[in-house]
């Protein structure tokens, strides 16, 4: 039976996962195991996380409003392209308070980037 990992995760840049908790396992490759709903260490010769699960890429494209022909064009403030309306939401002015919310640290560490994140559903 494969050895499991629980803790913080980090991406290696190639669609794979690495253990990121301080300790002897930090930096070791792990992969999500669908059958057991756990994260297992990847042994030499075994398929990586990406090789096990990848179907297609999803582009992460920064928005811009300067070039209609370039990727991420958000349109104009009075006529934004669909799905890019948030490009024109201004952050608070220097004299205005931020509207961001923050999790307590212990919760924040597990709701994202952690092997438990998908068990903590409902996080807004």
């Amino acid at each position: 039976m494969a050895e499991t990992y629980e803790g913080r995760l980090v991406a290696d840049g190639n669609g794979n996962l690495l253990a990121d908790d301080d300790g002897p396992d930090k930096g070791k490759a792990v992969a999500y195991d669908t059958d057991t709903d756990t994260y297992v260490f990847v042994k030499a010769g075994e398929p990586s996380h990406n090789e096990r699960h990848h179907l297609q890429f999803a582009g992460t494209v920064p928005t811009q409003d300067a070039d209609p022909d370039a990727d991420g064009y958000a349109g104009a403030s009075d006529d934004p392209t669909e799905g890019n309306e948030h490009h024109f939401i201004a952050p608070p002015a220097p004299d205005e308070p931020s509207e961001l919310k923050f999790h307590p640290d212990l919760l924040a560490q597990e709701v994202s980037g952690h092997t438990n994140q998908h068990r903590l559903g409902g996080e807004e």
Binding site: H49, H54, G59, T63, S77, A93, L100, D105, E123
Partner: protein
């Protein structure tokens, strides 16, 4: 208000020279006078400035859709003015959010992406990935310089899987100890099971005037 009396006995408000008390701000009349003398980009900027409905939106004309965070802005100021040492993070951790960010964000800001198997994208902070930029009056760095970079492949919907913002941090503790470096908006994209979110080579531009 002070008054003067005209030779005919009419009371007139005393005229004063108007002294500027705030930064220069274009007026529509001024813009119309100069319209033929400015290039297309400046016309577009003025147009947006005048059409903006409120002060917050006017600021957005200047701020665009991204910024360095308060934390990194302070570090730069202290380094340039006072030579307060700043050691940049060895790794930048690139994260995705499903809700808005601003300059106050950090690793505990709510709305961080959490599709199943999501994790921050670790980019070693060196000149291979963050190569020297170009330009003098406007200096632009683009990254990742060496190749496209991918977040982990999704294995389930999880939560916050429709991404709209990207923010990068100096740590991956997943808490407020991770300081915000910079952020920007990204096109709204839903990450489904089997999707691998990817940042194209040189997709990010950081511009310094």
């Amino acid at each position: 208000m002070d008054f003067d009396i005209s030779p005919g006995g009419v009371i007139l408000p005393r005229t004063r020279i108007i002294r500027p008390a705030s930064p220069w701000f274009p007026t529509k009349v001024g813009a119309e006078i100069l319209w033929n003398d400015v290039d297309k980009d400046m016309r577009k900027l003025w147009d947006r400035l005048f059409k903006a409905h409120d002060l917050r939106e006017k600021f957005n004309v200047v701020a665009m859709a991204g910024s360095l965070a308060n934390y990194s802005s302070k570090k730069i100021q202290d380094l340039l003015h006072g030579a307060t040492a700043y050691t940049a993070a060895a790794t930048n951790y690139i994260n995705l959010w499903a809700s808005a960010l601003d300059d106050t964000f950090n690793g505990a800001t709510t709305g961080k992406c959490a599709y199943t198997s999501y994790a921050a994208l670790a980019l070693t902070n060196n000149t291979t990935i963050f190569a020297a930029g170009s330009g003098t009056t406007t200096y632009t760095k683009t990254w990742p310089s060496d190749a496209a970079k991918s977040w982990p492949t999704s294995t389930g919907t999880g939560t916050n899987n429709t991404i709209t913002y990207l923010g990068y941090l100096d740590g991956n503790a997943g808490s407020a100890a991770d300081n915000g470096i910079g952020w920007c908006t990204v096109t709204s994209t839903t990450i489904n099971n089997g999707d691998t979110p990817q940042l194209a080579q040189n997709a990010m531009s950081v511009v310094q005037d």
